[in-house]
């Protein structure tokens, strides 16, 4: 049974399926692997025998964090994954969670969990020689709130807030991923109007988020004029969110099974004009950055994730596309209003900071275009229709500003039995650590900002 599990995964991966998450069931008695291929999803399951299952980390490197998490939180061992370092559990012994780095003149630089700026909490253990980073061990989960565990036993409707509020920056993406999973288990399909309003919300979130990311990269190189110009645009985008939904981060606007959002055609038209105005201002700002030599000089060949690395590490979102990996959940989505959507990649998809910055600017243009098309005519309350039979497990997948986010919901009756949220940030943190190696320590803030991942939705 368990060897068959590895074989099933191996065959699936050879067959074009991609690893998209692994989790233990609430009781720790089963392990589930989520596989995706274009718009399709499938779950492979194996029983845990003697507190252990065979590891698949050699088949899918991207499963590394998932297996470590399942070990820490559900006491499942993974045979062949050695050393199985703690991830969520904070072992005080340094050698328990860091990779030993030996050699002449190597030393460690410990940063965090409290950082110098207004940044979320997390710890980075750099192994360096002089200013050169040899290896980085990130230790996150300082903000682990046990959200998934807390959702267990709640009603399916109540479960939404545990997913959406894992992270303010991805509240809509996480919320829609959960709502979709909840609708699958109930056999519900969104109406076209519901698809439209959710797509508007998702792209509004991407708009402020990508503007914020460009501002953050400017901060990473110390270009205050760029930081402030784009921060001002973030403020405008959040004010627009407030006008449209009553909340600057769009909290409360995603619901399971429908949408209560109601906007008069004039308000929608005003929103469309504001998006057009932000688009012009952002375009001016981006052009200025393009011709700012001191800014551009800092970006190329720094923090590289190659195309091959991105595939191996399971990198998602803008970071993957900047390395030429054209994965984007929106391309094959059938539950949101993305018909005809094609992912973009930069001409120079080198997977470095420059490519990730360019990727944000390209995606921002797409988002402005999508919003321009969708913000047309009034937004009415909308609902779902019954389309199929109820299921015991549902999967929802969404492209968040940071990448592919999947939510798996297992239910018992009307209650949440298990909730697993695997966000773009969670998928990409190992890529940040990989990108940092061989770079200069003072470039790390810039590398980190070029991914601009959330700690909150990795830690949960």
């Amino acid at each position: 049974m368990t060897t068959a599990y590895r074989e099933r995964i191996r065959v699936a991966l050879a067959d074009g399926w991609r690893f998209a998450g692994l989790h233990a069931s609430a009781s720790g008695s089963r392990v589930h692997v989520l596989l995706v291929r274009r718009g399709e999803t499938r779950i492979e399951t194996t029983d845990v025998a003697g507190h252990s299952v065979p590891s698949i980390v050699d088949l899918a490197n991207a499963a590394g964090w998932d297996e470590r998490e399942a070990h820490d939180l559900h006491n499942v061992g993974f045979g062949g994954h050695a050393p199985l370092r703690p991830l969520v559990t904070h072992d005080p012994r340094l050698d328990a969670w860091t990779v030993p780095v030996r050699g002449h003149d190597t030393y460690q630089v410990a940063v965090g969990p409290v950082h110098a700026g207004v940044i979320e909490s997390g710890h980075f253990r750099f192994h360096v020689v002089g200013e050169r980073i040899l290896h980085l061990d990130p230790r996150l989960f300082y903000k682990h709130r046990g959200l998934e565990r807390a959702a267990e036993g709640k009603t399916i409707d109540e479960g939404l807030k545990y997913a959406s509020r894992a992270c303010a920056a991805c509240a809509v993406a996480n919320g829609i991923a959960y709502a979709r999973a909840a609708e699958v288990v109930q056999g519900l399909e969104p109406t076209p109007e519901l698809s439209r309003v959710r797509t508007v919300l998702l792209e509004l979130e991407r708009m402020w988020s990508h503007l914020n990311d460009i501002s953050a990269v400017c901060a990473g190189v110390g270009l205050a004029a760029g930081t402030n110009r784009f921060a001002a645009l973030v403020e405008r985008a959040r004010r627009l969110n407030l006008q449209l939904t009553g909340h600057r981060f769009l909290f409360g606007s995603v619901r399971v099974g429908g949408s209560a959002l109601q906007l008069h055609a004039d308000d929608v038209a005003a929103a469309r004009r504001e998006v057009a105005s932000i688009r012009i201002a952002a375009g001016r700002g981006v052009r200025e950055l393009l011709f700012n030599a001191s800014f551009q000089d800092r970006l190329p060949d720094v923090g590289i994730v190659t195309h091959a690395d991105a595939l191996r590490l399971g990198t998602v979102g803008p970071a993957a596309r900047a390395a030429g990996v054209r994965h984007d959940v929106r391309e094959h989505d059938t539950h949101l209003a993305y018909a005809g959507f094609a992912p973009v990649t930069p001409a120079r998809a080198a997977g470095d900071v420059q490519a990730r910055v360019e990727q944000r600017t390209l995606e921002l243009e797409q988002t402005f275009g999508l919003l321009d098309g969708l913000l047309d005519g009034r937004i009415a309350p909308s609902t779902t229709t019954r389309s199929g039979s109820a299921q015991s497990v549902g999967v929802g997948r969404v492209e968040s500003p940071r990448g592919e986010t999947s939510c798996i919901l297992e239910r018992t009756g009307d209650l949440v039995e298990r909730l697993r949220l695997r966000t773009g940030s969670y998928a990409n943190w190992p890529s940040v650590a990989h990108a940092a190696a061989n770079n200069l320590l003072p470039d790390f803030p810039l590398i980190n900002k070029s991914f601009e991942l959330c700690y909150a939705c990795a830690d949960r």
């Binding site: 110098a116 903000k143 807030k161 509240a171 004029a225 981060f249 909290f251």
Partner: protein
């Protein structure tokens, strides 16, 4: 570069913010004790052109050693408890603590009780409470300026 600066200057002119305040300052250190990242995103915009708190002498400093005020966001997690106390201990006297956001005040906190220590107030003496989920940059700015008036 000139366009960036010109755009910022015209934005500043349109916003018509009050002029710089003389002779006062407050050095602020932020610690995220377990937030959802909403308070951080809003706190970042307190320094943006729309609010520009630096003109009142309010600035985020890199170390608690340099700070007069500790801004704490989030419900305190078990894993952040020690780091939060150590940041507070590193601050010189007199020092103040502000709890930002509903989670830090113990309102509507989501999570497993075993992973959470409690409100900021359960761990540190809190002088200023800034409610909101998250509080908007303007609300944070007003509360901090109020503190500046009290502290001089």
């Amino acid at each position: 570069m000139l366009t960036l600066l010109r755009d910022l200057r015209s934005l500043r002119r349109n916003l018509d913010l009050a002029g710089p305040d003389q002779g006062r300052s407050l050095a602020v250190r932020h610690v995220d004790a377990g937030s959802c990242n909403g308070c951080e995103h809003e706190l970042t915009l307190v320094s943006s052109p729309y609010h520009d708190l630096q003109r009142f002498g309010l600035g985020i400093v890199a170390s608690p050693r340099h700070a007069d005020l500790l801004l704490v966001t989030g419900a305190v997690t078990t894993r952040m408890h020690d780091a939060l106390l150590r940041a507070y201990d590193a601050m010189p006297e007199p020092r103040r603590v502000a709890a930002i956001g509903d989670c830090s005040l113990g309102c509507g906190v989501l999570g497993s009780p075993s992973e959470l220590v409690g409100r900021v107030e359960d761990v540190l003496p809190v002088d200023v409470r800034i409610p909101g989920c998250p509080p908007a940059p303007g609300a944070i700015a007003d509360a901090l300026l109020g503190l500046l008036d009290v502290c001089g």
